[in-house]
Symmetry: C2
Subunit: 387 residues, 2 copies
């Protein structure tokens, strides 16, 4: 069990030996770029997932913005994504190193993706501190985020798995929460706290209690840890998965990579890194948290897009698109378009219109969460061509 | 001034001489097919006006249904339409005779269109009784309509201009009304009445009084009359227009048609047949009315389309289109589509979605009338490519 001192009883030998190298110099960022973003259909879909879109009107895709937040801090940035997205990811990230692109033959959830990244980085340098950050979140200001990451790296260097939790702005019921414990004393990480527990998505009443208490943070799925410690916990809780990713990692920088990947990957267990590593590690007292005071949005649905892109003129319509031609009268809401079709909105409030070549969605911001159900229904009807 | 007898003092000599030929054998229908139907944009537009669409899910365009209602009654059916629609009209009406197609180089409102038809028919056979019926109205049952037309023709044969008025189903404020007068005694037309006056679109309160009184009918713009009488009134009230259409008509069945049409037509006055003929004739006591008890809809906006096409399944969505792929959840309204794109409607009531290749409209049935304003605004912005 951990205490609130800077020493970390559960850390591996490698971590203790590496203490002389400044922590940030050993920091390697990992961006798992998966997840279709079903609630953003038909904009986001299997062939063009959420992270490949500019959802904030910034002119940048979400994965590019994620890269730009992390690259200045890290000695390298690894991307784990589906084979289908190789071309798009390379175009978005021209500075991505060949050795830092991991392509999944099929999706296997976050434990396999992040575990394989940890294993590959560990074999290249066992003292690596990795930090995993999803490719499709909107965060700002960058400097506040980077300060939290730097604190997380400093805390990870003491032999902990460190998550960055988001200070809640409202009693959200769509996220898991992190209950923070005692303040830790870590040099370079004044905000570090122990994690008492990860808790599941609460109902509204419970969420309100969480927010009022001041002790709970949103779980944004950001994990910073020594690779050796990540793999240690993975080996303890998912030994088969650990064995599989280690076998792939040993072949990774050799001519056998493709053969081993093709043979081993399809058999790996699908599970989330939260279950495979973070929650057991928290129970063992090995997890710390840095409260993030930056704004954070996982752009979970089109209501988020309306929120993140306040209407810029008197028309009341937020427009996302390269060449939009939107006319509105007594209307408000969001239009997302990838065409130059004229779109006329008349006498309709809080509408969401998403116009793509082969599919059109019309809903309201209030019903933005229901888009997922619609996609499931379309799937059940065999409309895979537009999913 | 007319009396309620079958004799018609104002009728021309030609009409009295022709009395021996049964009236219906002299009946020639005219279908003016103009009018973009702006309130049905972007479905209806300059290149594809309302009458070229199937708006009732019957499988027939409105102009084809109009033809089918009239052709069995008439010795011929003439169509007056814009040059741009020649091909589409010929494809819709394969039985249209070459001599019965009148193409306008530019739109000139109904007095010129119907007047030219009257003049051409008059020169071919001065005893012709013409009946003019717009190409874009929805009417049923056909037999009830045809009975009204037969009564109108019988009444016209007594030397009157006869309109068919629609028995109002509600106090509409979007139509002009006809105040009927005394019952006429016409053989073959038991329902014929004198017209006391045409009145403009009323406000709601006045419309309610009209409907309660039982003496008012909707003016649907249907006119049946001896061509000679039509031209006589036109000559009296719009002498320049009359001279112009007579000049064109005299050249019509000669090699000079195109030259004369191109020279004279552009200078003709733009005015409605109601002002040029019907209202002055009513003041002169020359107009009768047959009350139509058929259902009638001018499909003025998308709310009408929702009305005319009740939702056919539990989904609550009325779908108009050849190959629609509509998915809905907690939604109601109308979808009109000319594509096979997937359209998903979620959590939105009484919505109107019109999906065409270059323009998309999203509004509500309540705001259906506002579509016209939107089109005017698009025009002002120079978006002519989609109008």
């Amino acid at each position: 069990m951990n205490t609130d001192s800077a020493a970390a009883p559960a850390a591996s030998d490698a971590i203790r030996d590496a203490a002389s190298v400044p922590a940030l110099e050993r920091f390697h960022a990992v961006i798992p770029a998966g997840g279709v973003g079903t609630r953003l259909w038909p904009l986001s879909r299997a062939a063009a997932p959420k992270f490949l879109h500019d959802l904030t009107g910034s002119g940048q895709t979400l994965i590019r913005a994620t890269w730009d937040r992390l690259a200045p801090l890290a000695r390298g940035v690894m991307v784990v994504t589906g084979e289908a997205h190789e071309g798009a990811v390379r175009r978005q990230l021209p500075d991505l190193q060949e050795q830092d692109l991991v392509l999944e033959p099929e999706p296997k959830d976050s434990a396999a993706a992040i575990g394989l990244a940890a294993a590959i980085l560990s074999l290249r340098d066992p003292d690596t501190i990795m930090g995993s950050f999803a490719a499709d979140q909107v965060i700002g200001p960058v400097e506040v985020f980077q300060d939290a990451v730097a604190q997380a790296v400093a805390t990870a260097a003491t032999g902990r798995i460190v998550t960055i939790g988001i200070t809640p702005s409202h009693p959200a019921t769509g996220f898991g929460y992190i209950r923070s414990g005692r303040r830790l004393r870590v040099e370079g990480a004044p905000d570090a706290h122990d994690v008492a527990a990860f808790v599941e998505k609460p109902d509204r009443r419970v969420a309100e209690r969480y927010v009022t208490s001041g002790r709970y943070l949103w779980n944004a799925g950001m994990f910073v840890a020594p690779v050796a410690l990540m793999l240690e916990h993975l080996a303890a809780h998912e030994p088969d998965l650990h064995a599989g990713i280690m076998e792939i990692a040993r072949a990774w920088d050799t001519p056998q990579r493709d053969e081993v990947m093709a043979r081993v990957w399809p058999g790996l267990k699908k599970t989330a890194i939260d279950y495979a590593v973070a929650e057991p590690a928290a129970t063992a007292g090995d997890v710390a948290v840095i409260p993030g005071t930056f704004t954070w949005d996982d752009v979970g649905d089109f209501a988020a897009i309306a929120r993140l892109n306040p209407a810029r003129d008197a028309s009341g319509i937020t427009v996302i698109g390269d060449t939009p031609r939107v006319y509105s009268s007594d209307a408000s809401g969001v239009v997302v378009t990838d065409s130059d079709r004229v779109i006329a909105l008349i006498g309709i409030e809080d509408v969401v219109v998403v116009d793509t070549g082969d599919a059109l969605l019309v809903t309201t911001t209030e019903h933005a969460q229901d888009v997922k159900k619609a996609v499931e229904s379309l799937k059940a009807r065999g409309a895979d061509d537009v999913l």
